[in-house]
């Protein structure tokens, strides 16, 4: 009796030690890692794609001229390669877009989060998410063909907006960014625990006080992250500024009623034409692209850092 059970025992024990060979698991793991590496390869690819032509570019154009020059005229007879006009136009459009998107987006978020009744919110939130998916070429189209004529018609003075100008590009871009800012800010506010609001109401606060003094400060990390995301989208956006922003890059343009080319518009416009590979113009596309990549990389780093730093507020 005892002998047979001990035999069975040792057999079972050794079965545990042998283990079942599972080749499937190893294959799967390899596949998974390979898939994850695709994203790494992508970034590496972007860097390589940018680096080589950029180096060739800076062999012909000095970095000083690139960074401090106030005229960008690669296609003129008199060539100049100062990138400031492009950066300036990007900043103007971004500023206009944010001036519209941040108040409207935050206000919408506060209304949805603190004032709207649950049924309204349930209906509106999906609609806002839907509207966030409208392709940017649509915004470019309405900016040029609907917004600008309207603006030109109602402009009080004579020097109205040009055919393409930074103002309508900025307005259209602002409207494009509102759903993003509103949606993320509202999520952030909804995540503020109910107990915090109750505590504030119990202290005889009005709804406005609870919204502005308790909820918004508590949700500020998500709100700032939403705004930085909006900035990043505005800086990297192409279609609106290409269609409606303008072409000028021979001088820094700060008047939003005039048209000017942003970094992205330049890349798009040059690429629409035929450019011989390896020429300076070809390389200039990559140089501007590299600058754009660095700027958005910095913005993303800030955003990620900020979200992480403030996330510990409740935990």
């Amino acid at each position: 009796m005892t002998t047979s059970t001990s035999n069975a025992g040792s057999a079972a024990g050794s079965a545990l030690r042998r283990g079942r060979r599972r080749p499937v698991d190893s294959i799967v793991k390899v596949l998974l890692v390979a898939a994850a590496l695709v994203s790494v390869v992508t970034t590496v690819g972007i860097v390589i794609a940018l680096v080589q032509p950029t180096i060739e570019f800076f062999q012909q154009v000095s970095i000083v001229e690139f960074v401090t020059g106030t005229s960008w005229t690669p296609t003129f007879a008199q060539k100049a390669y100062g990138v400031l006009p492009l950066v300036g136009a990007t900043l103007v459009v971004t500023a206009i877009a944010l001036a519209i998107a941040v108040p409207l987006g935050l206000g919408s978020a506060i209304y949805l989060s603190e004032y709207a009744n649950p049924r309204t919110r349930k209906v509106l939130k999906p609609i806002i998410e839907l509207l966030a998916g409208v392709p940017t070429v649509v915004y470019g189209f309405v900016a040029l063909f609907a917004l600008n004529p309207l603006l030109q018609k109602w402009w009080p003075t004579d020097n109205g907006p040009a055919f393409q100008n930074l103002l309508i590009a900025g307005i259209a871009m602002g409207i494009m960014i509102v759903p993003t800012i509103a949606s993320i800010s509202e999520d952030s506010m909804a995540a503020v625990p109910r107990s915090l609001r109750e505590g504030a109401y119990a202290l005889a606060s009005t709804r406005m006080q609870v919204s502005t003094r308790v909820v918004v400060p508590a949700a500020i990390s998500g709100i700032v992250a939403a705004i930085v995301l909006g900035i990043s989208r505005a800086v990297g956006e192409t279609m609106i500024v290409t269609i409606a922003g303008g072409l000028t890059s021979d001088r820094i343009v700060l008047n939003p009623l005039e048209g000017a080319a942003t970094m992205t518009a330049f890349i798009a416009n040059i690429s629409s034409g035929d450019i011989p590979v390896g020429s300076l113009d070809y390389d200039s596309v990559f140089a501007v692209g590299a600058l754009l990549f660095l700027i958005t990389f910095a913005l993303n780093a800030v955003s990620i850092r900020m979200v992480r730093r403030f996330r510990e507020v409740y935990e």
């Binding site: 009744n117 649950p118 625990p193 107990s195 915090l196 609001r197 109750e198 505590g199 504030a200 109401y201 119990a202 202290l203 005889a204 606060s205 009005t206 006080q209 003094r213 308790v214 400060p217 508590a218 507020v313 409740y314």
Partner: protein
């Protein structure tokens, strides 16, 4: 089951005592040594002076009647406890006392809740003014993610109190909440960095800072350890010199230790299998725990259910 109170100083004894009174009940039950009714030197109003009066109060969430027909007084500068098993409407009634139920969509209060004779739910009553006079401390401490100073100063600021010196007001509130000594050197640090018991005292401090007449407490100690709980119970004794306190508690012994009056709630199940809360008995704490009028009360306090 017998109950041994903690070895601690009761503010109403002149020296440290180990309270160990003989069991005064004739059946096994809670040893209610140290209840307010037996203390000497306790301020007892000659005539019952209710500062609030509930009369036939029912609270509905939509069509569902969560609590039925509650009638009881809240006596001025006394501690009133509401006890009973889970889900019998104690917190719901508590929240109807400062119109916090207004914040729940579909919540409705029937019957009358009066404060100094004024119907709290009259059309022209401003709920925000109600909450300035009737404050609330919650079960889970909920300080704002702001500094300790700003937590206490929040109430006075939003209610537009004209304060000669905010620093003094903050200090006074923190002293009255027995927290000053522990935080006086770190007023600018976050309220969330405090321990659970300290956070709850911070919440009490900020409630006091608005100078309410009544303080409602919804199971204020249930998230705290026994030592923090004891500190808060001591605090309640001191506060009741100046404030009327209404406390909901799951802890029978706490109610017996701390309160002057006790209300016992239970839940009834009707034909449709729905639960409705209802007040069963309200009386002075000593009487309720030694000689309850209703059998359900007796069953609860002797542990036969709940």
């Amino acid at each position: 089951m017998t109950y041994q109170p903690l070895h601690r100083r009761s503010p109403h004894d002149s020296e440290v005592t180990t309270v160990n009174h003989p069991d005064t009940t004739t059946r096994p039950g809670v040893n209610i040594a140290g209840t307010g009714a037996q203390r000497t030197g306790m301020r007892q109003p000659d005539v019952a002076a209710p500062v609030m009066e509930l009369s036939g109060v029912s609270v509905y969430y939509g069509e569902y009647e969560a609590v039925r027909g509650t009638s009881m007084p809240i006596q001025e500068k006394q501690i009133t406890a509401m006890i009973g098993p889970s889900g019998c409407g104690k917190s719901t009634i508590l929240r109807s006392l400062n119109r916090m139920n207004d914040l729940i969509p579909g919540a409705r209060v029937a019957g009358s809740v009066t404060y100094h004779g004024q119907d709290l739910y009259a059309k022209d009553v401003d709920p925000i003014e109600v909450r300035r006079r009737i404050g609330m401390v919650f079960q889970k401490p909920n300080p704002f993610p702001k500094s300790i100073y700003d937590n206490v100063a929040y109430g006075p600021r939003v209610t537009g109190m004209k304060v000669a010196n905010m620093d003094d007001l903050v200090e006074k509130a923190l002293r009255d909440a027995a927290l000053w000594d522990e935080v006086k050197d770190k007023l600018k640090t976050s309220g969330l960095a405090l321990s659970g018991g300290q956070q709850q005292r911070l919440c009490i401090a900020r409630t006091i800072a608005v100078r309410p007449e009544i303080i409602l407490m919804d199971e204020p100690c249930s998230a705290l350890d026994p030592i923090a709980t004891a500190k808060i119970e001591d605090l309640m004794f001191e506060l009741s010199d100046n404030y009327t306190i209404v406390i909901v508690t799951h802890n029978m012994q706490q109610a017996a230790r701390v309160s002057h009056y006790t209300a016992f709630f239970t839940a009834e199940v009707d034909e449709r299998q729905e639960r409705h809360g209802r007040l069963v008995e309200f009386s002075q704490t000593g009487k309720l725990f030694t000689n309850p009028a209703d059998k359900r009360t007796e069953d609860y306090i002797t542990g036969r259910f709940g």
